[in-house]
């Protein structure tokens, strides 16, 4: 396994009586796509919030590029190269598509001219070229997902956290988006993706972590994880593996 860009050691996050993330440890190898799957409410988005600094862990530590970042504020983590997209897209709806991307581009480009150039280039690369002057709130769901990705890319991330970028897209849009994500990985960006579309998880990632009720219950290649009886039970309920489960259980 390649050297890990991000490693999480026994991280927990408690909301009052609820332990949303329970002693989770995982590592994301540099230059690969790691997938994070699990049923609704498993704590996947909370885990992303902990990695990106929007929430502080109750315990545990997070290392990025070999350095501890557990106590760094979110904007400082973005500066160091951790970008995230939001599950519920958060466009700057009053601004044009171009100005949305410019905000991200400004992180490493102080002048407006340079930020505009980068924003245009990224917008075209992600297929938003014709929509750069449109207000962001006139985009379709697929367009907004692309915008979310474009803004994150404009910050020149080393680690990209994709929170369900395929959710809400139709099969054609998913087919267009998958090579886009693969292309990012090809450029050397390490990716961790939360995804429910298994077809995409199977084709994109080499390593999958399964989170259920705040704990990692399985990890491995997509095929191995999909056949894991524990995972099937987590998704479909107790006894499900026996009933309908993977061939090797029967």
């Amino acid at each position: 396994m390649a050297k890990a860009l991000l490693s999480i050691e026994s991280v927990s996050r408690r909301f009052g009586g609820l332990l949303a993330v329970n002693h989770v440890s995982l590592a994301a190898p540099t230059g690969r796509i790691t997938a994070l799957i699990g049923p609704n409410g498993a704590g996947k988005t909370t885990l992303f919030a902990l990695i990106s600094g929007f929430l502080a862990p109750t315990e545990g530590s997070i290392h990025y590029g070999g350095e501890p970042i557990t106590t760094l504020p979110a904007h400082e983590r973005a500066r160091r190269g951790i970008a995230r997209t939001f599950q519920i897209v958060q466009p700057f709806s009053g601004l044009s598509v171009r100005d949305n991307i410019v905000v991200g581009a400004h992180l490493h480009h102080p002048t407006r001219a340079a930020a505009l150039d980068l924003a245009d280039a990224i917008g075209r690369e992600l297929g938003l070229g014709a929509m750069l002057d449109r207000p962001a709130d006139t985009l379709t769901v697929a367009g907004r997902k692309r915008l979310e990705l474009a803004r994150a890319l404009a910050t020149k991330p080393k680690l990209l956290l994709l929170d369900e970028v395929l959710a809400g897209l139709n099969p054609t849009e998913i087919r267009e988006m998958v090579p886009l994500v693969r292309g990012l990985c090809g450029r050397g960006i390490t990716i961790i993706m939360i995804e429910h579309v298994m077809q995409a998880v199977m084709s994109l990632s080499e390593h999958v972590f399964v989170l259920a009720e705040g704990c990692i219950i399985a990890e491995g290649t997509p095929a191995a994880v999909a056949a894991d009886p524990g995972v099937i039970e987590a998704y479909l309920g107790h006894g499900a593996a026996k009933k309908w489960g993977a061939p090797h259980v029967q």
Binding site: E76, A78, R84, F86, V103, P110
Partner: protein
């Protein structure tokens, strides 16, 4: 025409007004309108571009006015450095209130209430503290010399306030074209999304509040020099806070010319109302209320937004006509 050239032409045209209009009443009207435009532009930097709706900009106006006045009256400081000290004090007041409220994560209507509370506390302090002249207020000695920042001719006062407004327009113009401005607007639109893109929202809001307070404080300093009298009600009263937010909202908040346009319209309407109905107390507030209702109902993006909408509407109908002909 380029926006910057457009702005310069506009300022030069305004600067030429006293050469044509000699009436003191007219100049007085323009000076107070520009004064309110400056107060409003200060608010616009934080509220219009940054989305932080302050109800207490009187805190900065009053601090600028009092510091300028007190330094001259009690410490015999020259008016020019006194003016600068007033602006600095106002900016510091903005930084302090900003640091306290933003650090505590106060947003939206809570921010509005907290800023209002700060201004009210300052008003009450100023109405009892001996150094401000308490209930009597502070009177600056009449000394009509340029070295004392007082002028025989209203035209010169007019040019001074116009220059200050020009600087404030340039600040707003710069906000639309710099990284700081882009980040500030991003924070207004969605603070979490901005943070995820590496924007230090606390620092950006604090910076905006400091600049905003400095601009509004400059208006306070000018007020003290022009009217030579302030008391706690004038300096820290809610009336100034209300005018600070009304003018940009009516003119178009988050736009360069919104506060100036709003101030000219609001002041004109007040004058007309006084001319029609006589100087009934509270009449200007009734006018403000009516204008605000009309603007929110029919032009939620302000008068500048209304004009912009008209422009795109015309462009669209021209396109349609071309399509029909061609």
């Amino acid at each position: 025409m380029k926006p910057l050239a457009c702005m310069l032409t506009f300022i030069i045209a305004l600067a030429a007004v006293p050469l044509v209009v000699q009436s003191n009443t007219a100049l007085n009207f323009l000076i107070t309108a520009l004064l309110i435009a400056l107060v409003g532009q200060g608010w616009n930097i934080l509220g219009g571009y940054g989305g932080q709706y302050s109800f207490g900009h009187a805190a900065f106006f009053g601090t600028g006015a009092y510091v300028t006045a007190i330094l001259q009256v009690r410490y015999s400081v020259n008016a020019w450095p006194g003016f600068l000290a007033g602006v600095t004090a106002g900016a510091s007041m903005g930084a302090i209130i900003g640091a306290l409220t933003f650090r505590a994560g106060i947003r939206g209507s809570y921010f509005a209430l907290v800023t209002l509370a700060f201004a009210e506390v300052l008003r009450i302090l100023a109405s009892v503290a001996p150094i401000t002249g308490a209930g009597v207020g502070t009177l600056i000695k009449l000394d009509l010399r340029a070295s004392a920042l007082q002028f025989q001719s209203r035209a010169v006062f007019y040019w001074v306030i116009l220059a200050l407004v020009a600087v404030s327009l340039l600040i707003a113009y710069a906000l639309e074209r710099t990284r700081f401005g882009a980040w500030l607007i991003a924070v207004r639109e969605n603070e979490d999304a901005a943070t995820a893109l590496g924007v230090n929202a606390f620092k950006v809001k604090l910076g905006a509040m400091t600049i905003s307070a400095a601009v509004t404080a400059a208006a306070g300093c000018f007020y003290a020099q022009y009217f030579l009298f302030i008391d706690s009600g004038i300096a820290y009263g809610t009336r100034m806070s209300v005018e600070a937010l009304l003018t940009p909202i009516i003119g178009g908040s988050g736009t360069v010319f919104g506060p100036l346009l709003g101030a000219l319209v609001v002041k004109s309407l007040s004058e007309v109302a006084i001319w029609v109905a006589g100087d009934a107390p509270g009449l200007n507030l009734i006018v403000y209320g009516c204008v605000l209702i009309l603007v929110i109902a029919f032009a939620p993006r302000g008068l500048v937004g209304l004009l912009g909408g008209l422009k795109t509407h015309l462009a669209r109908s021209r396109l349609l006509k071309d399509a029909a002909n061609g």
